[in-house]
Symmetry: C2
Subunit: 348 residues, 2 copies
C-alpha cells in the first residue's frame, strides 16, 4: 500500500448495463462522504463541516458525484475535498455504499433518492492550511467526542458503567417486538459480543456494531431524530456521544472500525505521522487510533521485526527525559512484499 490509493479504485472495464427486458429503475443521485482522519499527538481527529453553526449538527464533508466530470468516484472525492478545504488527501479507501431509502427522503417524493458512498481518507494536519480550512467551514474535531465509549487507553471509559450498559441491560430485558429472521442473534447476544459482556473480550474493531446497537436501542440522539420508537425510553438520559447529521456518525464508526483493523495488517499508520518520528510518538498514534494501551517494549520489538522503519540518525529532544532516536518509514518495504502492518494481538 502506498501513500496513494488501493488498486481497486483504478479505471478498468466498464460497469454493467441494465438487464434486457426490465424497466429502468428510478434515477438516483450519488453522494460521496469522506471520513478524513488525522492525529494530533494523543488525539485522533476527524474533519467535520459546519462545526460552529447553531442548531445544525456537524457532518462529514460531502460532495455529489458527477460522472461526467470525474472519471472515478475516488477522483471526484479528491477533487471536491481539495476544492472545499484545500486539503490534499493521501491514502483513500472506499468504505461502504448505503442505498437506503433514508428517512429524510420525503414520503411520496419519488425522485430525490440519494445513495451515499463512504470513504476513509488519511492525512496529516497541516498547520499552514488551517485558516483556509476554517474559512471553508470545516474543522478538526477529536473523534472520541463522538464515540467516548471507544477510548480505553486509560482504562474502561466511565460512560459505559454510568450510562450505556445499564440502559442496554434494560433494553436487553425487554423482548423485541418481533424476532426478525434476518437477525438471528437475540439482543443480549449481540450486546455480549459487541460490548464484551460475560467473558467475551472487548474487541476494539467492533465500533460499528456498538454504534448500531446504541442506535437500535434508541440511545443516540440520531435515533430520536429519525423517529425510532425505542428512543422514547430514554427521555431523561443525557445524549450518548456527540450526534452528527444524517448517517454520518455511522459512516465514521465504519471508518474507525476499518482503520483499527487495517492498522494490523497494512502499514497505514505512517500516513498519519510526520516523516520522522520517535517510536513513542508512533506508539501514541497507534494507541490513539486503536483506543487501547500498548506494551512499550513489545510494540518496539514489533516495529523492529517488521522492518517497517529505520533510524534517521537524528535524535529528538522531546518533552523532558532522554532524547529519543528518530525513525523514518522505510518506503522500500512496499516493494518487498511482506506488508505486515503492526499486527497487535491479544489484550494489552
Amino acid at each position: 500500500m502506498s501513500s496513494r490509493s488501493a488498486s481497486t479504485s483504478e479505471p478498468g472495464p466498464a460497469a454493467a448495463l441494465p438487464a434486457a427486458g426490465r424497466e429502468a429503475p428510478a434515477r438516483i443521485e450519488i453522494g460521496l462522504n469522506a471520513a478524513i482522519v488525522a492525529v494530533d499527538r494523543l488525539t485522533p481527529l476527524i474533519l467535520v463541516t459546519q462545526p460552529g453553526a447553531k442548531g445544525r449538527e456537524e457532518g462529514l464533508p460531502f460532495g455529489p458525484f458527477d460522472p461526467l466530470e470525474h472519471r472515478t468516484m475516488e477522483i471526484g472525492l479528491r477533487a471536491f475535498v481539495e476544492e472545499q478545504t484545500r486539503l490534499r488527501l493521501g491514502y483513500v479507501e472506499q468504505l461502504y455504499t448505503f442505498g437506503d431509502r433514508g428517512r429524510h427522503a420525503r414520503r411520496g417524493d419519488t425522485a430525490a433518492h440519494v445513495m451515499s458512498v463512504g470513504y476513509l481518507a488519511l492525512t496529516r494536519r497541516d498547520e499552514d492550511g488551517e485558516e483556509a480550512l476554517k474559512e471553508s467551514g470545516a474543522d478538526w474535531r477529536p473523534w472520541y467526542g463522538y464515540f467516548p465509549w471507544e477510548d480505553w487507553r486509560t482504562g474502561r471509559p466511565p460512560i459505559l458503567d454510568a450510562a450505556i450498559e445499564p440502559a442496554l441491560e434494560r433494553w436487553c430485558a425487554m423482548a423485541p417486538s418481533a424476532e426478525r429472521p434476518d437477525r438471528p442473534l437475540a439482543r443480549r447476544e449481540r450486546v455480549r459480543l459487541a460490548f464484551g459482556w460475560g467473558g467475551v473480550p472487548f474487541d476494539e474493531e467492533r465500533v460499528l456494531d456498538r454504534y448500531e446497537l446504541l442506535y437500535e436501542a434508541g440511545l443516540v440522539p440520531e435515533a430520536r431524530r429519525d423517529g425510532r420508537a425505542s428512543a422514547a425510553l430514554w427521555k431523561d438520559l443525557p445524549p450518548i456521544g456527540r450526534p452528527m447529521r444524517f448517517d454520518h456518525r455511522r459512516i465514521l464508526a465504519t471508518a474507525i472500525s476499518r482503520l483499527r483493523a487495517k492498522l494490523k495488517y497494512r502499514p497505514v499508520v505512517f500516513e498519519l505521522v510526520a516523516d520522522s518520528f520517535t517510536l513513542t510518538e508512533l506508539q501514541k498514534v497507534v494507541e490513539a487510533i486503536s483506543g487501547r494501551h500498548l506494551h512499550k517494549q513489545n510494540f518496539r520489538r514489533l516495529v523492529e521485526q517488521t522492518r517497517l522503519v529505520e533510524q534517521t540518525g537524528e535524535t529528538s529532544i522531546s518533552t523532558g527525559g532522554r532524547p529519543a532516536a528518530l525513525f523514518r518509514f522505510r518506503r522500500e518495504v512496499m516493494k518487498e512484499g511482506a506488508l505486515a502492518g503492526l499486527r497487535l494481538r491479544g489484550r494489552p
Copy 2:
C-alpha cells in the same frame, strides 16, 4: 457472523442530501451485481448468466436497484436473485462500488450512467433447484476457468510459465508511456508483489491485483474489447482465462480476494458445506477456495482448537478407505465472541 448478512447492511439513519449551493449532479442508475459462490467437492463454482448464448460472454447475475421497491440494496439483491434463479442466498456481503464512466457508456450520451455495486454471496448448490436455475438462463461454472493462474492446489499452474509470466516480463521491460503520480510503483515492482517474483511469496489473496495487472498489460480479452492499447501486443497469444461481460471478471476477482481473506478470520466456510461433513471434506473446500494445498494434520488441529466444530457421532463411509467421523458447525461459537475463522498462516 451468522448465516445472514453482516450488520452493515441494516437500515439505520438516512443518507446525506446534496450540499447546498451546488448543482444537482447527473442522475445515475444503480446496478447490483452478485458473485454467488458455491463449492462442489473440489470445485469452487460461480453462478453465471447466459452461459450457453453464442457470441455473448458470460456474466454475473445482474439487477437494477430501485429504492422505491426495496428498502436497502441488500434486500433488492436478494429479491432479484431469488426471482431470477429461485436461489435463496445465505451469507451476503457488499464488495465494492464502481462508479467509473465505463467505456461502454456511449460518448456524448450524458444520461445513461450506471454504477455497479458488487456483492459476494455464499450458498450451497441445491440439486432440486437446478432445473429452475438452468431454465432461468443461469448456471454454475468452475471459477478457476476464469482464473486458471489462481489454482495452486496441485502446484504452480502451468499457464504462468507458459504464457503469463513471459508476457508480463515483456510488458515490464517496456517503459510505461507516462509515469502516473497516483501509481507510485513501477510495473516490475507491481508484478513482483502480485505474482511473487524475486523472493516475494505468492499471496493467494491478491487475486484482484493480478487480474488488474493482466488487464493493464492487455493480456485478457476484456482489455482488447475495451480498446486498451496494450492489447495489440499479444495478437497471437491465446486468451488468458475465460472472459466475462463488462467488468464482471473484475468483480469476481474482488469476490475471490475477499473470500480468501475472510476465510481466515471469520467462520464463513460453513456457509459452503453441508450440515454435516468430514474434516477432509471441510479441508477440501478450504483448499478449493484458497487455491492452495494444506497440511492435513495442522488443518485438523486448527479446526479443533478453534472449537468451531463438534462431532455428530456418525461416520461417513466415503470414497473408499476408513470411515470418517462426521462433524457439524457449532453455531454457538457465534455467541462466544472468539470468531476466529481458520487462520491459516504461512506457506503450505
